[in-house]
């Protein structure tokens, strides 16, 4: 063994997420979709059993994908492969780690396996991404070992309003924290229900110590570019691609819009002739128990 070589350090775990910045991560349910995503310029794919729109429509308990499917996806693409485990389901996470996926998403889109505890992510060599709706939730996930955060939005709706709310909330709360004096940070930590040292670090650096992506409801190139202008490091697209009329075209258009998120002419060009967007559900029409973003705490 080489004594100077260190695997799975926080820097190595967070480092992969740093490399994904400015990119689009796409939900895929099989190898064929994974190939379409890679060809469209996705920086990574997220393997799951059903896209959120179908989970919503079909109901029932949503779980980790079949390992066979995940292996097929890993064998098909050369970009990083992420896969979802249920909140608190540390054995699904152990299984995904043994399959050598590149990242685990401990995700509220699947049915939670534990309504009290999240996975102790420090126990794993593989990095985790977790959802958050506000700064306190993001910091609690980081405390548990998350190496990347994504705002939750409301998955499977095609309605971007919750994604907007969550990224604005997280970044807004960071700004408030940054404006506080040293002696106010003790109470801030109490209110955020997060460890003082981490709160102080965020107040000082004015950013999370990990990469922050947006997820949940992004369906168009303009949606994706808006999330980037609001301050996201990158975007997850779930049902938005493969529930639309022309997935390959829409996927490439969203990649282009994220790369040139400040250029309306490019976004206009990317938005032309994409066929039908996913039908969508207005979040306000969803009864509260059916809102996925309220899972996790």
């Amino acid at each position: 063994m080489n004594p100077s070589k260190n695997e799975s350090t926080p820097l190595v775990k967070r480092g992969l997420a740093e490399m994904l910045k400015g990119g689009v991560i796409m939900d895929v349910v099989n190898a064929e979709q994974a190939k379409i995503a890679e060809d469209a310029g996705a920086v990574a794919v997220m393997a799951l059993e059903r896209v959120p729109a179908d989970i919503r429509a079909q109901g029932g308990v949503a779980r980790m994908s079949d390992p066979e499917l995940i292996e097929q996806i890993i064998a098909t693409v050369s970009i990083p492969v992420m896969a979802k485990a249920r909140i608190g389901h540390f054995v699904e996470a152990q299984v995904l780690e043994s399959l050598k996926v590149d990242y685990i998403d401990e995700s509220e889109v699947l049915s939670p396996a534990d309504y009290v505890n999240h996975i102790d992510k420090w126990k794993f060599d593989i990095p985790f991404v977790c959802g958050a709706t506000n700064l306190g939730e993001a910091l609690r996930r980081i405390t548990e070992g998350a190496a990347m955060i994504r705002s939750k939005g409301e998955a499977g709706t095609g309605d971007v309003s919750e994604a907007t709310k969550h990224i604005r909330t997280i970044l807004g709360e960071i700004n408030v924290l940054a404006s506080k004096t040293e002696d106010e940070l003790y109470v801030a930590a109490k209110e955020l229900q997060a460890p003082y040292d981490l709160v102080r670090e965020v107040a000082r650096t004015k950013k999370l110590p990990v990469v922050l992506f947006v997820a949940g409801g992004v369906a168009t190139p303009a949606d994706a570019a808006m999330m980037m202008q609001l301050g996201a490091d990158g975007v997850f697209v779930g049902s938005g691609v493969f529930k639309s009329g022309e997935p390959a075209k829409r996927a490439a258009a969203i990649v282009k819009a994220v790369a040139a998120f400040n250029d309306p002419a490019v976004i206009a060009e990317a938005s032309r002739g994409l066929g039908e967007a996913m039908v969508g559900i207005n979040v306000r029409d969803l009864p509260a128990p059916h809102r996925l973003s309220e899972r996790g705490w």
């Binding site: 080489n2 100077s4 070589k5 260190n6 695997e7 799975s8 350090t9 820097l11 190595v12 480092g15 992969l16 740093e18 490399m19 994904l20 910045k21 400015g22 990119g23 890679e38 060809d39 310029g41 996705a42 920086v43 990574a44 890993i74 693409v77 050369s78 970009i79 990083p80 780690e97 050598k100 996926v101 590149d102 990242y103 060599d125 593989i126 990095p127 990649v255 282009k256 790369a259 040139a260």
Partner: protein, 191 residues
């Protein structure tokens, strides 16, 4: 001196931060006009398939080739090394490199993210702590190419060919500035 960082996708921010520590002026390069008045260009880490596609979408391939062929310096880390190579092993379909350096590079040569690591290496006689993240390896080195770093098992991870520099690893995410200083010296004496 002004150095550009190709800002289509990847760890652009870390490179800009490293250059800022060296008091170097930086420009985010998103279109060909951004290459004007630069002494050098950095191709950051990121996803090489994505960066390759975006270079075509934003018509940057020819301008970057012309930039390097005019003698300006270029430095690629990880995905940037893949982009500079004239042969990419285990490439994705449709992935096209710039083909500027006479090296063969294998993508994801160490395996999945579980095989990513930090290591203390020797770079041209200086000891540095750097990160290898789903990193590539140089499997063939052309005659005009100088090897600047090897792992303890002899695998090549940093190379230079005239005005071009490439590393498998990321000096920019561990806070090392030495490789960037080395690059700034290259950029200040055009070939």
């Amino acid at each position: 001196m002004r150095i550009g960082v190709l800002a289509l996708q990847g760890d652009v921010r870390e490179h800009i931060g490293t250059l800022a520590k060296l008091a170097c002026e930086t420009v985010e390069v998103r279109k060909s006009a951004d290459l004007k008045n630069l002494s050098g260009l950095i191709l950051p880490g990121g996803e090489s398939t994505t960066i390759s596609k975006l270079m075509d979408i934003f018509s940057l391939r020819e301008p970057v080739l012309n930039f390097v062929q005019s003698g300006k310096a270029i430095f690629g880390t990880c995905a940037g090394m893949i982009t500079l190579a004239n042969e990419v092993l285990d490439s994705a379909s449709g992935q096209q490199s710039l083909g500027l350096m006479d090296i063969s590079v294998r993508r994801n040569a160490f395996g999945s993210q579980l095989d990513s690591f930090e290591e203390v290496i020797d770079f041209d006689g200086t000891t540095l702590n750097v990160a290898f993240i789903r990193a590539p390896i140089v499997e063939r080195v052309g005659e005009a190419v100088q090897v600047l770093s090897k792992l303890s098992d002899g695998r090549v991870v940093a190379v230079r060919q005239q005005n071009m520099l490439a590393t498998s690893f990321h000096p920019e995410i561990t806070g090392e500035t030495f490789v960037h200083e080395y690059f700034l010296k290259m950029a200040s004496s055009p070939q």
